[in-house]
Symmetry: C2
């Protein structure tokens, strides 16, 4: 039997699997919907907040259409379950096909993914990804 | 009597007030501490995750020492209380003294701040701020 944490890790991985598969139906199934859909919030790296599940899914459709062949490797995956809500913090290693001698170009982002448990399933309500730019922390804010 | 949401908004504003005052004691009083301190996570714009309250406070000390005279104006402040946890999403308009003809230079960041209620007080466990770079969403992830 899967633990809460296992199910949460699986829900978190589903975001990236749906992305890699370019499958908007899987993406929609992961995110909160119905009346709760208004709570959805999403920040793509370098972007503003996208609000509401319809706008969030449109943003993913755009990202997926313009970023084929991306692959994600997740590291430093940390989970925090707090009652019926949970947060996953992780680092996304993003691999793109390279144009030069290297087969891949990699970049990375750090991410806070927020979930809420609805009828026993972890559904995503928040994705906040930010670029890691190698700037010294002391200049950053 | 203050509502949950009022207290949460006040806790969120305290982060920026403590920063502007350069007051690390106020910063420490806001963040979770003791055994819970290990849960603290912080991302300054463009940075990696900082983990654990000691490291998080050191990172704020560095940022404050190197960014005097910053002022924050918060917009689009949204709160979500989920039992004993809460999330505040907001946009930070950051004003710095300008070197040229303009008295201020402004930039902005979008932020997810996470709180947990401990003995009736909202304490911060997560600060994830990311730069808004004006890149098209579809190229961002």
């Amino acid at each position: 039997m899967s633990s809460d944490r296992d199910l949460l890790i699986a829900a978190n991985e589903e975001l990236y699997a749906a992305f890699e598969a370019g499958d908007l139906d899987r993406m929609e199934a992961l995110w909160i919907g119905g009346p709760d859909g208004a709570l959805a919030r999403c920040v793509h790296p370098g972007g503003e907040f996208v609000r509401g599940v319809e706008a969030v899914l449109r943003s993913w459709a755009l990202v997926m259409a313009n970023a084929e062949d991306l692959q994600f490797i997740l590291t430093d995956v940390e989970t925090l379950v707090q009652g019926e809500t949970a947060t996953v913090n992780c680092t996304e290693i993003i691999l793109r096909p390279g144009a030069g001698p290297d087969p891949f170009v990699s970049s990375h982002a750090v991410t806070t993914n927020g979930f809420v448990r609805i009828e026993g399933r972890w559904r995503m309500w928040l994705h906040h990804a930010s670029p890691v730019m190698g700037v010294p922390t002391e200049d950053a804010e």
